[in-house]
Amino acid sequence: MTGFLIRRIGLLVITLLITSAVIFLLTQVLPGDTARLVLGRDARPEAIAQFRAENGLDLPLPMQYVNWLTRFVTGDWGTAFTVGNAPIRPLVLERLGNSLKLAIMTGLFSVPISILLGVIAGLRENKRTDVIISVFTLSVVGLPEFVTGLILINTLALGLDWFPTASSPPGADILDWFRQLTLPALSATFVLMAYIVRMTRAGVVDELKKPYVRTAALKGLSYRTVIVRHVLRNALLPTITVIALSFGWMVGGLIVIENVFNYPGLGRLMTGAVERKDLPLLQASVMMVIFFFASANLIADLLYGLLNPRIRLE
């Protein structure tokens, strides 16, 4: 198991190295010259040259990459070109925290309800309940996030005034979490739900056909015990992986929702950095997003291995 863990973490590091190189290259080919962008169109050539020298922009690309990576790893993420030359690290970390809060809230909403619906649909395969659940989840996922977001704002925020129209990051107060994050989390839930429900349903349907279910029933166990003790522990394995992956995705992927609710998450920071061609900021935030996505992958694999004895000891 430790060997497995070490190898997997090794793989993670390699992934991060490769993606960091790719990101670095990609940010280089973005149109426009950074120095000009920062200093303005009318900057004198000497100023531009000085800026480039100060920022290492005149070095060959591989050197620039190595420099950037070393600084990044040692925690020196530099300052942004825009947003008032703010130091990048605190900014990204703060936004990351906000994104995580939203992801946690979304998980709290989406996971229990999706699993419940998926299990029910699977147990009632092809019966009316199953069809209703499928149609419902699929039609919800068909709606774009800004539509569900606007509907939620119009009804629950503007209409009933239960929630603010724009969400700000909550503090330590639980009630504040609900007040600020319920609407964006609901929107994200709609996106995730169909996926998790389908996964769960498929797992349950597959497992119910397996001979061990008959063995369990013929022990005299009640239907409930057969399902809860025997079927679900196998049926939910793929679902758990999907949930872990979605978590990674939510850290950088809720761009539309963050915009609709004006929520300062990492996704918005990233899009802003692209728009303004703020390379250091963009690189740092994309690295964070990738880091979380890859880690979620790793965690998904580990969870799967941990919960699935067939993988664990091989």
């Binding site: 497995f4 001979p211 029933a217 022990k219 009640s222």
Partner: protein
């Protein structure tokens, strides 16, 4: 039978809802199992034996219903007992030992938990107590180190142990009735022998009743006290085991027994077979279910269903046949003696194929393994294997799973090329790899697969498939010539011309296998490699296929490399046999030599483990200890030393044994000289 009846089934009819409406799967079944009795339920696929076995526990598919009859369990009528009441019986008073143990165990629950939950539920004891009971039960089913095993998962133990675990599960609550649904079908012969011994001992000890479902007449003869024979969803005969096997009076039972492959001296003998296939559920007629295939059928057999009649030999012998009286008093004789094949079929001089010192090691490869495996361990699947096949003869390769017999077949055909060694086809060296062989070399060697579905395209008619093969090999043939060849091939495998227009899903398993054979012969090969060609088929169909292979050998003059775990099938067809164990040949000889003493200790165990389909023969299998070692980790010295009951000492563990000459071309790889081996083996089992 002395004990009291545990389960009594009276005139039970169970129907399935098919597209065509409600159709009976089993009809008018009556059967009683007594305390202390092992009752065998014999039938081929489609006979309804599994439906009956589960149906009498009242475990039925959602589209099934009981329409007539009663089931009395321990005096209580359970025919219409509600589910919650049934649950109190299941696992406690009636329990099931399922067929495929690995699939029947929950993959992600520890073995101990799966056993313990039964007694926790039915006896309400604490989990610590239940765990102790589970461990004790594992000990009773003779699992070494039960405490360890109870903390493992199903996939971490061997197939034989998995089956022992299911037996432990079934017995832990001390049920009155145990239903065993083909519990040894997926196991190797030597493992099967030890499981059967276990079942027999445990049942004797507990005085419970057991219903043993099986298609294997040998196992039933050796294990059961009473036997019921099912065909087409009906009871054909039920009788105590000895009279059923020694004086069968139902034509189906008689034919079934006659069709069992066995070791015969002459190559020209043919088995008696039951032609045709069992009727599909919705194709059953109003007459006798067996009429379409019965050699003694009369007009009235097709018109009226015979009743289940008391033979008047004690209380428990019944038979369903219009003509049983004639059979019983000897006026009607159903032919059972083996027949003769047409034509000359003794081996010809010269060799079709010679393979010399083939070696094959499977490396664990692939991206994921390379990254995750610490050390790469090779699996030594073939270890200096040499064989030669004479013209118009059959080389039988016998071995259990892990012996390397399938690897050998695939290495010869070139699908998985051997790492080194040589192969000569018709005295010409050929490439080890399929891609390096000429068209003609490829044509010369054809293959018949275990599962005919693997090689048949479901969207192409039989005629089409055959025509394509013919065309590919001789592209200049005219359409008419191809057509004629297709028909002659169909005729050779005894299928009528209209089969040319059928699709694979319109064929029975046996018919598909015939098409597979026809396809192999379409190329006019000189060597046909058959990898377990009959093991997926029913007993009566197996015999038909074996006969067909024998006839074709005489007619077409081909040779076979026949690979099987079924010693009887091999001995029926093969004139020359090699026995493999863990990738090595341990014994070679002609069929008579291999079957006679002296034998390699492994062959000896293998032969003794085969249950004889004769209950009057006192059968004492040599039970091998433990499981075969993993091929990743081959034992040093003699590969069989970890389980060999004849092991003579350290030398077996350290030195590879030499070949001992046992007379003629018979050779045995063992440290014990052939004459000594003969002397000790003649004294009886170790």
């Amino acid at each position: 039978m002395s004990g009291k009846p545990v389960i009594q089934v009276r005139d039970l009819t169970l129907e399935y809802k098919l597209k065509s409406g409600w159709t009976p799967a089993i009809r008018d079944i009556s059967l009683t199992v007594y305390e202390g009795q092992i009752h065998g339920l014999v039938g081929e696929s489609g006979s309804g034996k599994s439906t009956l076995a589960l149906g009498l526990m009242r475990y039925m598919a959602a589209n099934a219903r009981i329409t007539a009859g009663t089931i009395l369990f321990d005096g209580q009528d359970i025919t219409h007992l509600p589910q919650n009441e049934l649950r109190k019986l299941w696992g406690k008073h009636i329990s099931l030992v399922p067929q495929d143990a690995l699939a029947a165990l929950n993959p992600s629950l520890k073995i101990g938990q799966q056993i313990a939950e039964i007694v926790r539920l039915h006896e309400g004891i604490s989990s610590a107590e239940a765990h102790a009971r589970a461990v004790e039960m594992l000990n009773q089913v003779r699992i070494p180190d039960p405490e360890q095993v109870s903390r493992r998962y199903a996939h971490q133990i061997s197939g034989g142990q998995q089956q022992r675990v299911t037996i432990a599960m079934a017995l832990i609550a001390r049920p009155k009735l145990l239903i065993l649904d083909e519990p040894t079908t997926s196991l190797d012969v030597t493992t099967q022998a030890s499981i059967i011994e276990l079942v027999r001992d445990l049942m004797r000890e507990r005085n419970a009743a057991a219903l043993y479902v099986s298609h294997d007449l040998g196992v039933v003869a050796q294990l059961c006290d009473h036997v019921t024979v099912l065909y087409g969803g009906e009871v054909m005969a039920t009788a105590p085991v000895v009279p059923l096997f020694t004086r069968p009076i139902h034509p189906y039972t008689i034919s079934l027994l006659a069709s069992l492959p066995r070791h015969t001296q002459a190559t020209e003998t043919r088995l008696r077979t039951i032609e045709g296939a069992a009727p599909a559920l919705d194709m059953r007629t109003t007459g006798c279910a067996f009429a379409a295939r019965c050699p003694a059928a009369l007009d009235k057999c097709h018109a009226a269903r015979p009743p289940l009649e008391d033979v008047g030999e004690g209380p428990d012998r019944y038979v369903r046949c219009h003509r049983w009286r004639e059979i019983a008093d000897g006026t009607l004789v159903i032919e059972t003696a083996p027949g003769q094949t047409q034509g000359d079929s003794a081996p010809l001089p010269g060799h079709v194929l010679k393979a010399h010192d083939l070696n094959k090691t499977f490396n664990v490869s692939g991206m994921f393994e390379l990254l995750t495996e610490k050390e790469r361990t090779g699996v030594r699947a073939l270890n200096d294997v040499s064989i030669s096949i004479r013209a118009r003869s059959t080389l039988g390769v016998v071995g259990e799973s892990g012996s390397g017999k399938t690897t050998l077949a695939r290495a010869i055909i070139g699908l998985e090329p051997a790492d080194d060694g040589t192969i000569d086809l018709m005295n010409q060296a050929i490439s080890l790899n399929l891609n390096g062989r000429t068209r003609d070399e490829l044509r010369q060697m054809q293959m018949i697969f275990q599962n005919p579905n693997d090689s048949l395209n479901p969207y192409r008619t039989v005629g089409d498939a055959l025509a394509r093969t013919i065309k590919r090999l001789s592209p200049d043939l005219t359409r008419d010539a191809v057509r004629a060849r297709v028909l002659s091939l169909l005729e050779a495998v005894r299928l009528t011309p209209d089969y040319a227009n059928r699709f694979p899903n319109e064929l029975s398993g046996g018919e598909k296998q015939r098409v597979g054979i026809a396809r192999a012969f379409a190329a006019q090969p000189s060597l046909v490699i058959a990898d377990e060609p009959t093991s997926a088929l029913d007993v009566s169909v197996q015999a038909v296929i074996l006969n067909l292979l024998k006839d074709l050998r005489a007619r077409e003059g081909v040779s076979y490399l026949f690979i099987s775990h079924d010693l009887r099938a091999v001995s029926y067809l093969a004139d020359w046999i090699v026995v493999m164990y863990l990738g090595q040949i341990v014994e070679v000889g002609d069929a008579d030599q291999v079957y006679a003493l002296p034998s390699h200790p492994y062959t000896e165990a293998l032969l003794s483990a085969l249950p004889t389909p004769d209950p009057t023969v006192n059968h004492m299998p040599i039970v091998l200890e433990g499981d075969p070692p993993s091929p990743r980790n081959l034992p040093t010295g003699c590969p069989f030393h970890t389980r060999c009951p004849r092991k003579i000492g350290k030398i077996c563990e350290t030195d590879a044994p030499p070949w001992q000459d046992a007379g003629g071309d018979h050779a045995i790889r063992c440290h014990i000289p052939a004459d000594e081996l003969l002397a000790i083996q003649s004294k009886g089992a170790p």
